[in-house]
Structure formats: structure tokens, C-alpha cells
């Protein structure tokens, strides 16, 4: 199950805005109508099979050919075309975020089937019906070429191995155990981190390995593909008529050599694909709608472990932010011209550009251009800290400016040097004034820290995404995750209020 979506943030239609009563009624009505009509006859009368996929998937699945951003090619594009033709209709591609393809299919989205490297697994079968397979893939280990010793996945026990978030490779490594699993959001950046040595291996699906190893002599495939899996067409549950038609059509495409022709064109045909012709459905398929709340004993510890990452990334980032922010505020307010301009420039640049961009720059940019290979954790703390330092600097400056002028004059009149006056008289008062804004930012950072998941750091939100994709239970797991976030920021604000009250008390 290759998630081939680069850095797309998950949309949650359930939570997006409050629909009016009218549109709720309309939706109910539509779903009643839909439940009665048979999807196959709908497709037939429309003359079009609408298939959902994510065009960001990349080669060899679905991609824009070089120099032509309007056209889509790839073995799945051609398979969809052939499949529709075999059914006697035209095909129509519908773009959808990969993460949300199956949920959208279930909720009656604007496509009839999903053709997007969906693996025929019990997890997916719980969310949708699935056709017979149209493609056989397997797991491929990729390592650096200069490392001749590693030949199989067991050679990398205890070493950092990159996988795609919630993919079959990810699940396989978790099942095997004993690996330092690094979770990525897309199929590009783990190869980059492998090249620069941040990780020692990548476990991925054969098509992805095949495309990325072509013409790259720094990386090599280690050992033979293993753990075969099947891509199948996903159909809304209960649409048996459509499902039967699809099965027959796919069987036909396998038998008459159409699949072989398409896959050969994309370098994907191998002896293992012969299995498509003889494939028989497993006798017993466990269909179980999983519930995060009912299985809280499994999921709560996972989420809590990820929450620990959130906590230390946030605390580390905040410690950096408050100290650097203080220095910036003082320099901006009191230092001579050239230094002051630098502080102003820093603050404006870090406040004026997106945090996400800064994270990419620090993690990937510095490694590529300067060879500065920060660990994901260090990069996350650095990015959050550098970014928030700009905000904290302004908080402190506001605090400094609101200390009455007479305080500085009284301190100077007592013979204090400016530096002593600042440290002993102005800052103690300014920090008290800015404390509420600083604690607000601390709580905000708990939530903002979820953005660091783009650099292979599994914090709370990322863990939630992984488990929600596995189980399809966005609601239950979402509630648990929200509960943990709430507990964290509640604790933080309680602590902050306590400090505020303490300082306020002896300030009065």
C-alpha cells in the first residue's frame, strides 16, 4: 500500500465547518437515492467510469510526462483506460488526496472506484470492497552502493530505516520489530536522507525502488524483493454488481496480455506478475471495522509515546525561543546600529516566512548545500525555536517598552551601568509583563509542533494520522488525540497561571 502523496496535509471533511441544516437534509436525501441505485447501472447509463487517484503519486504510477503538465501518464492511467474500455465505457480521472481516497469513496465521493495502488489487505477490505488484483508488487530494500555488506532487511536490525507513513513497508517493519523506523510523508525524501547518510536503508514497494534506482549509482537494491502484495481496485462496499464486472474485466486483461503490454512499457513486468492470471481470492476474509476507542489499550500507549516527542520538541523549541528571543529583544532595543539592524532583519525574516519552509530549509536545505546533517529531532527543535524566537523577541520588547522611563533613570542615577540597569531593574519587570504572551505562545507551540512530522519525526498528530489510516477510525482516534493535546495544553496553562500568580503576588 504505497502512499504516494508528498506532504499533503490531511483534510477532515467531518470537521470542516458546520454544514447548514438544509445541506444535511440534502446529503441524507442523496445518500438514500444512491443506496437504491446500482452503481454499475449508473456507470453504464453515464457511459463513464470515474476513478479516483492522487496525481502527486509520481512515476511509474501516475505522473505528468516531462514538458507536459497537462497530460497524465503511468501504468495506472493506462490500466484505468484499458479497464474502462473493457467495460464498454470511457474513463475519467478524478483528483483526490491519497490519504482520503477510501474515506471519500465510502462517503459517496465524486468517483466510482479507486485505482491508486491500493493494497488488498484486511485493513482496506474493512473500508471498501476490492476487486481481484491487477498488479503484484513486493518489498524492496534499498541501501547505499558503497555499502556492500548489507544484503537483506535483517542486516539492518537496530539501524535507521526509512519507510512511507502507514505503508505496507511501515507495517512490515513494525511487525518484525527491532528497527529504528523513520517515517516519511512521501517517496522522495527518504532516498535523499539515505544518500546523505541520515538513514541506512529504505524499505519500499518494488515500482518505487525500480524508478528511483534507475540512473542513480549512489543507491542499490539489496537482496531480492520479498513479501508480495496485490494492488486492487476499490469499490464502495455492497456494489457487488460492479465488483463482479471489474473482476471479469481484470481477468480478461490479464489473460489477453494487455496488462503485460502496459507494465512492460513502464518496466514493471516480471515473472511475479504471472500470478495475476492464477490468483484466487483467499477463502476467508476477516472484515472488521476497527475502533480506536474500543482498542484503547493498543492505541493509547502509541499515542502517548508520540506525545512524549511532542513534549520534548516543544519544550526544547521553547527554551531556545525564550533565550534567543530575549537576546534579540535586547539587541534590537539597546545595541548600536549594525547589530540592531541584524536583529530587526532576523525578526522580520522569521516572522515573515512560513514555519514549514523554515523546517525544510533547515533539515533538507542545510544538508544538501552545506553538508550540515542535523538529526530530525535537532532540526525540529531548531526550526521551532528559531521561528518562535522572533515572536518572543517582540513580546519582550513590548514588555521592555511598557516599563516606565523613570525606572531606567532611577537606576542610572544610582550609578548603574546600562547593562546592570537592564539586568537588575528593567528585565525583571519586563519579563513579568510579557509572561502571559510567552505562555500563550508555549501553548500554541504544542499545536504548531505537529508540522515537524514533515521531517520524519513521528509526533502526536503524525501518529494519529498513521493509526487512523490503518483503522479508518478518524473519529475515535481523533478524540483520543484531541484529549491528549488538551491535557498537555491544560497542564501547561495551569503551570503558567501558577507562575504568573506567584510573580504577580510578589510584584504587587
Amino acid at each position: 500500500m504505497p502512499e504516494r502523496h508528498p506532504q499533503t496535509r490531511t483534510n477532515q471533511p467531518l470537521l470542516r465547518g458546520l454544514p447548514t441544516t438544509a445541506s444535511i437534509l440534502l446529503l441524507l436525501l442523496l445518500s438514500l437515492v444512491r443506496a437504491q441505485a446500482d452503481l454499475w447501472s449508473e456507470v453504464q447509463s453515464r457511459g463513464v467510469l470515474r476513478w479516483g487517484d492522487d496525481a502527486e503519486g509520481g512515476a511509474p504510477y501516475i505522473y505528468h510526462p516531462e514538458n507536459d503538465a497537462t497530460r497524465l501518464v503511468g501504468f495506472e492511467v493506462e490500466f484505468a483506460e484499458a479497464l474502462a474500455a473493457r467495460l464498454g465505457v470511457r474513463d475519467q480521472f478524478v483528483q483526490n488526496n491519497w490519504d482520503m481516497l477510501l474515506p471519500a469513496l465510502r462517503q459517496g465521493g465524486n468517483f466510482d472506484v479507486v485505482i491508486a495502488g491500493m493494497e488488498r489487505t484486511p485493513e482496506n477490505l474493512a473500508k471498501a470492497d476490492m476487486s481481484r488484483p491487477y498488479f503484484v508488487f513486493a518489498q524492496q530494500l534499498v541501501v547505499r552502493s558503497n555499502n556492500a555488506a548489507w544484503q537483506s532487511i535483517s542486516d539492518l536490525k537496530g539501524k535507521p530505516v526509512g519507510v512511507l507513513s502507514a505503508s505496507s513497508s511501515h507495517r512490515l517493519l513494525e511487525r518484525l520489530g527491532g528497527f529504528d523506523i523513520r517515517v516519511y510523508q512521501d517517496n522522495v525524501n527518504y532516498f535523499r536522507d539515505l544518500e546523505v547518510g541520515r538513514i541506512d536503508g529504505v524499505l519500499t514497494d518494488t515500482p518505487i525502488a525500480q524508478v528511483n534506482l534507475a540512473g542513480n549509482d549512489r543507491l542499490r537494491a539489496a537482496g531480492a524483493p520479498f513479501e508480495p502484495g496485490y494492488y486492487a481496485v476499490a469499490v464502495p462496499a455492497g456494489e457487488t454488481n460492479l465488483l463482479r464486472r471489474l473482476d471479469t474485466a481484470i481477468e480478461g486483461l490479464a489473460a489477453d496480455g494487455t496488462l503485460e503490454r502496459i507494465y512492460t512499457k513502464y518496466g514493471q513486468w516480471s515473472a511475479t506478475q504471472e500470478g495475476l492470471r492464477t490468483w484466487q481470492p483467499p477463502v476467508e476474509v476477516v472484515r472488521r471495522q476497527r475502533s480506536g476507542l474500543r482498542e484503547w489499550r493498543t492505541f493509547l500507549p502509541m499515542l502517548l509515546r508520540a506525545a512524549v516527542t511532542t513534549v520534548w520538541v516543544t519544550c526544547g523549541g521553547m527554551i531556545l525561543a525564550v533565550t534567543l528571543g530575549l537576546a534579540l529583544a535586547i539587541v534590537k532595543q539597546y545595541a548600536p546600529a549594525p547589530l540592531r539592524w541584524m536583529a530587526v532583519a532576523y525578526i522580520e525574516v522569521f516572522r515573515g516566512t512560513p514555519l514549514l519552509l523554515q523546517i525544510y530549509f533547515i533539515y533538507f536545505g542545510l544538508a544538501q548545500q552545506l553538508g550540515l546533517k542535523l538529526s530530525a529531532g535537532a532540526a525540529a527543535v531548531l526550526a521551532l525555536g528559531l521561528n518562535y524566537a522572533a515572536t518572543e523577541a517582540e513580546n519582550y520588547r513590548a514588555g521592555l517598552l511598557s516599563v516606565p522611563r523613570g525606572q531606567m533613570e532611577a537606576a542610572l542615577a544610582l550609578g548603574m551601568k546600562q547593562r546592570v540597569a537592564l539586568r537588575r531593574v528593567l528585565l525583571p519587570q519586563a519579563l513579568r509583563i510579557s509572561l502571559p504572551s510567552v505562555t500563550n505562545d508555549f501553548i500554541a507551540m504544542f499545536k504548531d509542533s505537529s508540522i515537524v512530522s514533515v521531517i520524519a519525526l513521528v509526533e502526536l498528530t503524525k501518529e494519529f494520522q498513521i493509526r487512523a489510516i490503518d483503522t479508518g477510525d478518524y473519529l475515535g482516534l481523533g478524540l483520543m488525540t484531541a484529549g491528549i493535546y488538551f491535557a498537555m495544553s491544560w497542564t501547561a496553562s495551569l503551570g503558567a497561571r501558577r507562575i504568573e500568580r506567584m510573580l504577580h503576588h510578589d510584584h504587587r
Binding site: 544610582l414 550609578g415 531593574v425
Partner: protein, 246 residues
């Protein structure tokens, strides 16, 4: 103890001090009177360099600065160490207790051991009648009490002279007497004081000499009885009439 020669200061085109001279002996207590806006505060603030004068020479104790040239920060600081300052609005440090306000500069400017300064600070608090308020924060003290702590804070640095800018003006009339009382005793003890005030009672009680400012210059000066009860210059007369001190 204090010598000022031709001190001049303008704000923009407005000349606030016009070649003012001032001479003051050790243990002498001088009061400056004058209408509002005539530059009294500016004069005091120039003396300890909270304002930068345009020209003139200032000598306090053993430190002399020539204001026509830029004054190095360290020289400014040396001047300030010899001239304690008491402000109309007290400007106590709100995050410190009364006692800590007094300890702050001796410990963190002069670097004297806290234990040694502590006895002295308590004695100063006793001197201004606030022994029982040592642990109070400024916000827990009345205006008169705050001003007395501010005087103790300035004295803790053992300045050669004490500059006071309207020390009783921010206080309710019934609280003024307690501050006057402290200042009377300091004058009796021989402290060199330069005091700006509109409080004629205070001027009469503590001054050895009164100087009357007008238009950026000293237009009259003399013994307190002479200036207060028998002013010569028309401006002084007008001022005494208005303030009701005649």
C-alpha cells in the same frame, strides 16, 4: 562641593538654561524656586547627566565634566555616584521590597558584601522611620513612605550631594510633613542638599540659601527669610504672591 559654570541647555530653539552658574559649599543646603517650566528640573537633571547640557562645566566633589564635549559614559557614572537623586514620582523598583530597594545599588553597583550593607540599610530605614516596613513592596506603601524609602535608597550610596526634585509635590498635604521631617534632620546633620520645590514651608525649613530661577537664569538669591519674606525682583514678588508665601 558643587560648582557649575555657564550651564546652557536648549530643547530645540527653546533655551531653558542660559549660562547658569551655581556654587555650593559642603554641608550647605540650597533650594531652587521658580515658576513652572523655568528649567528647575532640567537644571538638576543636567547635574547628574540625565539630560545632556549643550555647554558649561560641572564639578561635583572631585569629578569635573566639560559639557561642550561628549562625556564618556564612565565619567557620567562617576558624576552620578557623587550626586544622589530623589524624584518627584519616587521611582522605587516595584519588584523589590523596601529593604531590597536600598540594598540594590550598594551590592550590585559598588559590589559591597550584602551582609555588611544590610546593617546599614536597616539603620537608614530606621532613620526615615520605616523599620517596620522593610519587607513591604512599594505598592504596599503610602506615597510618603515610598518617598522616604527613595531618600534612604539614594543615601545608601553615600553621595557627596543629594539632589531632590520636588520631593513633596506628589504627596497629599498631610503626608508632606513626614518627608519634611526627614529632610530637616538630614539638613541638620550637615548633608549637602540641592532641592527644587514649590513647598515654601520645606524651603524655609531646610535651606541655608534660596535661588530664584526665571527665564533660564537666576534672578534673585539670598537667605531664606530675605527671599521669602522680602523679595526684591518683581518676578519673585509675583511668585510669592501667587504661592501665598509672602
Amino acid at each position: 562641593m558643587i560648582t557649575v559654570e555657564k550651564l546652557t541647555k536648549s530643547f530645540g530653539s527653546h533655551r531653558v538654561l542660559d549660562a547658569v552658574d551655581h556654587r555650593q559649599e559642603r554641608s550647605e543646603s540650597v533650594v531652587i524656586l521658580g515658576p513652572s517650566g523655568c528649567g528647575k528640573s532640567t537644571f538638576l537633571r543636567c547635574l547628574n547627566q540625565l539630560e545632556v547640557p549643550d555647554s558649561g562645566r560641572i564639578t561635583i566633589s572631585d569629578v569635573t565634566v566639560d559639557c561642550a564635549r561628549p562625556v564618556p559614559r564612565e565619567v557620567q557614572r562617576q558624576l552620578r555616584l557623587r550626586a544622589g537623586m530623589v524624584f518627584q514620582q519616587f521611582h522605587l523598583f516595584p519588584h523589590l521590597t523596601a529593604l531590597e530597594n536600598i540594598l540594590e545599588a550598594p551590592v550590585h553597583v559598588q559590589g559591597r558584601p550584602r551582609a555588611e550593607v544590610l546593617d546599614e540599610a536597616r539603620a537608614l530605614l530606621a532613620q526615615v522611620g520605616l523599620s517596620d516596613r522593610a519587607g513591604h513592596r512599594p505598592s504596599q506603601l503610602s506615597g510618603g513612605q515610598q518617598q522616604r524609602v527613595a531618600i534612604a535608597r539614594a543615601l545608601a550610596m553615600r553621595p557627596a550631594v543629594l539632589l531632590l526634585d520636588e520631593p513633596t509635590s506628589a504627596l497629599d498635604p498631610e503626608l508632606r510633613e513626614e518627608v519634611r521631617d526627614v529632610l530637616r534632620r538630614l539638613a541638620d546633620d550637615g548633608l549637602t542638599m540641592l532641592l527644587v520645590t514649590h513647598d515654601l514651608q520645606l524651603a524655609r525649613d531646610v535651606s541655608d540659601r534660596i535661588r530664584f530661577f526665571h527665564g533660564g537664569q537666576v534672578v534673585e538669591e539670598g537667605r531664606p527669610e530675605a527671599v521669602l519674606d522680602n523679595p526684591q525682583h518683581p518676578r519673585t514678588r509675583e511668585f510669592m504672591g501667587k504661592t501665598g508665601g509672602g
